[in-house]
Each structure stands twice: as structure tokens, then as C-alpha cells.
Symmetry: C2
Subunit: 277 residues, 2 copies
């Protein structure tokens, strides 16, 4: 089923990195003024800040904290680095709890110096090492499969099937998955794996942007919704058929948009949200 | 099984695009002098040439023509463009036959203006429209699944599973697949799908290069073997366990190497071939 158009902004969430030039204060007031209702905070926006104060700032601006980005990056050929990553994920869980974020998004990591199967094992080990702390803190962990073009350094989990398989293997209700259309749109199994995700009640978050033609930068050339070839309403239809009614998160890394006026960009996001998501 | 190192150049094939600055005459004489035994010719190198003369030139230099690159690009929202593509593939088959190439490599195509499922159907239709001519011409057709980062415009076939599925669906012995490590290395199903490929006797060609970290250009930043994270001997082991003993084709698109002395680059390829493939 193709989802019907969205008619208001009650489910619109923006990632702080989408409007990278803005501080957390600027993001809070501009998002709020624009009628955005949710925010996903990237950890850089918390650096050197009092997290309880940020939490109040966001609440005072009527913003719901949807998730904290990002934990993960578990694999390394170096055992000490793997322990450092685990420690950092424990801190990220603390930050999420303090911020009132119900979810920590995991960009699982990969180390090009070792086989992907080894990185995948280290991801499973890393998650096992932190999941009890997540449960005790009331924070869910969401595995975000990343596009295969990031398999060298960012994630050895590159399809929704793999994320589902890992959730099955770890079998912990504190663990779920994050569906990001940018990473997954090309996958012929996407519908089936979203179904599987839904049946297992583990679909925790939904990220949108678009795939530009041509894409000129592997990291920072994501498109605004409607600028590319991702079938957004089709994928949202699959996600919502599984009962997902949470926030729809706009996560755009774009050198091109970061160089423009961010208030204008935010208005473009709102128009694109109604017209294309 | 990890393949044992190669000890000579009897199976080394180079794609003319790997040494892009060289004309077909330069490629023929330099490859030959370097002890390269196979060549895959890209169609641009035939433009405006007498193909029978090119065939003699390559034979006189002791070079076996491994394949012609590339046909495909079947999908389009425009029906006239689809017919143009079919006509062009029929010409490519003629060129392959005239050149003495036993294989035409298919980069299947995609059109970002339509859903991937539609592009996939048009690929199947396109192959059906040309496969009898390929059989009559003694030319095999090889579906080359391309990395998912090319799903917008270059190929709607992005995994070896999809290529195998399409071969099963079309069920024509004239059709097979091309395994290129650059496109497929990240896939957790790669070993299983190479097995499936082998059992069906449809593994027609094997392309090597490497995935650089960081990759700075989506198209033209492939690495020399050994410069990246692709487990070349592992994948070659899987391919050879299936009985594949054909040429090992070096296909590197690299702005960085094209800007260097090509004879020096060819020597680097030979060293990398023995050390890393």
C-alpha cells in the first residue's frame, strides 16, 4: 500500500545534523517556531553542555526528543579500542537517559583491516556488553543498517535482513532496528524485511531523505525528499502497515544545503514533507 | 577455501578502460610486452575502427579477447529509448562476434524516474529480445550485478542473488553472470550465491580491483588490488571451488591512476596480481 500524503507536522522530527550550522539553542527555537514537533539530537550538540538543561530547553520549546544519534562503532582489530567503544556506548546510553531520549541509534561500525564476519561478531559482542545497561536506563538500542557503500568503515550491517538476523540472534526486547530509506531503498527484499521487522515489534524509527542523481559525495550529498528516486510513500506505506505511527525523521547530510540559509531550508523540508513523504 | 597465490600471468586479463589513456594499439603492444594474456575491450575502443583489424591486432600480440564491455542499459520510461537500447545491444553482439569475444558483459541499467521493479522487468524483456541473436552469434551474455550505489542509473540488479534469480527466470543457457568483487564484496550472501552460480554453470567472468578507504568518488576511485579491504583470495577461492579457471580480469576506474604513467601502472598491476589476488 502506498501511504496517503501527510497533512500536518505532528509527526515531523528533524535531526540536529540536518541543520548543522545551528546550535542546539537555534535549532530548538527555529524548529519550534516552524511547528516541528520532534528532534533527534546528535551527540556533538551535547558536547560541553549540561544535558539536563538541554532537555529543559527542548521541552520548553515543545519538542519531543525522539532519539540520540549515535552509538555503535564497536569493531576494531584492536581489543583496547573495542573496550573504549563499549565504554563510550555506556556513556551514550547515560546521555540518552539524561536527555529523555527513548532510543539510542547504533551505527554499528566496521574495520577495513579485518573481515566483515569478524566485524559482525564484534558488533554482536558490543551490543551484548551494553544492552543490560540500556534496559536499566530505559533506553532502547536501534540497529541502523547502513548502505553497502559504508561497509568499509561505518557498518558491517548493510541490509535490513542482517539487522533482523542480528536481533533474532541476540533476542533481547531492548534491541530493535532503524529503517532509513537512504540506506535501504535499493534492496529488493525491503518490503519483506520491513514486514518481518513489524511482526517482531522491533521497528523503532523511520528516517527519510532522498537519493540524488548524480550523487557527488558518498557522505554529504543526500537529497531533500522529492529530489531523488526513493519511493518514499511506498516505503512509508510498508512501515505504517506494520503499525508504526512514530515520528518521521528528516536526516539530511548535505554540503549543498548546509551552505544555504537554514530557515529557508527548514521551510523547504516542511514543503517536501507534505508533498513527497 | 582461500585460494593459493597466483604464480604467473597466464590468466591475467586487463580491461582497456583500466589503462584509459592508451589507444587499442598502445594497449595491445604494452599488454603483450608485459606478458598479459587476455584483454577485455570496451566498445569505445572500437569506435570508428575496423573491428576485424582490431581482432587481428590483438591476436598478433598474443592476446585472447575475454569479453566485450558493455551492453545492457535496457530500462527507460520511454518506450522508444528501450527499443534504441535493444537495437544497440544487437549491434554490440555483432561487434563481440566480429571481435571474437565469447562474452558480452551486461550493465543492465536503471531509470531513476521509475520504480526499480519496473526497471527489472524491462531488463528481463530486453535480454529476452536479444538472447536469440546472441545464441546465433556464438556470444554469451553476462549479467553483472552492480553495487547498490549504482541503483539509480546504472543497474537495478545489485546483488548476485538477483542476477541468479534473473538467470533462473529467463532459463537460457546463453545467459550467465559476471562476478565483480568491487560490486559484491560487502554481501553476506556472496559465498552462497557464488556456489549457486557455480552449480548452475553460469559463472562466466571474474573481475578484480579493490575498495579504497576513503573512497572519494562514486565512479572513478577504485583501488589497485591490495589497496583496500576486499578479501580477494577468499572470493577467488569461492569462485575457483566452483570450477572457474578462466581469466582474472583487472578492471580499475581510477582518476588517480589514469593520471600516472601507464606502463608504470601496468607493472603495479602485475605485482598486485601476484601479491594480492
Amino acid at each position: 500500500m502506498i501511504a496517503p500524503p501527510l497533512t500536518d507536522f505532528s509527526r515531523l522530527c528533524v535531526h540536529t545534523i540536518t541543520t548543522k550550522p545551528w546550535s542546539i539553542e537555534q535549532a530548538a527555537s527555529h524548529y519550534s517556531a516552524a511547528g516541528v514537533r520532534g528532534v533527534t539530537v546528535w551527540r556533538q550538540w551535547l558536547e560541553g553542555r549540561n544535558i539536563a538543561a538541554v532537555r529543559r530547553l527542548l521541552a520548553d520549546n515543545g519538542l519531543t526528543v525522539v532519539s540520540l544519534c549515535r552509538g555503535g562503532f564497536f569493531p576494531s582489530v584492536d581489543a583496547a579500542a573495542r573496550q573504549t567503544a563499549i565504554d563510550d556506548n555506556l556513556r551514550a546510553i547515560d546521555e540518552a537517559a539524561e536527555l529523555g531520549a527513548p532510543l539510542l541509534v547504533l551505527v554499528c561500525g566496521a574495520d577495513p583491516r579485518q573481515p566483515l564476519v569478524v566485524s559482525r561478531q564484534q558488533i554482536a559482542d558490543g551490543i551484548r556488553a551494553v544492552v543490560d545497561h540500556a534496559r536499566a536506563s530505559g533506553v532502547k538500542l536501534g540497529i541502523e543498517p547502513l548502505h553497502p557503500m559504508y561497509a568499509d568503515t561505518r557498518s558491517a550491517i548493510n541490509t535490513l535482513r542482517q539487522a533482523n538476523d542480528m536481533c533474532d540472534a541476540l533476542s533481547d526486547p531492548q534491541l530493535g532496528v532503524v529503517v532509513d530509506v537512504y540506506h535501504l531503498w535499493w534492496d529488493p527484499e525491503l518490503m519483506d524485511q520491513i514486514l518481518r521487522c513489524g511482526r517482531a515489534r522491533r521497528l523503532l524509527a523511520f528516517h527519510v531523505s532522498d537519493w540524488r542523481t548524480p550523487t557527488e559525495d558518498l557522505l554529504n550529498d543526500r537529497g531533500l525528499m522529492g529530489e531523488g528516486c526513493i519511493p518514499l510513500r511506498q516505503i512509508r506505506g510498508w512501515v505504517e502497515e506494520q503499525g508504526f505511527d512514530g515520528f518521521i525523521e528528516v536526516e539530511i547530510f548535505s554540503n549543498r544545503y548546509w551552505a544555504t540559509d537554514q530557515q529557508d531550508f527548514l521551510e523547504k523540508i516542511k514543503r517536501a514533507y507534505l508533498e513527497h513523504v
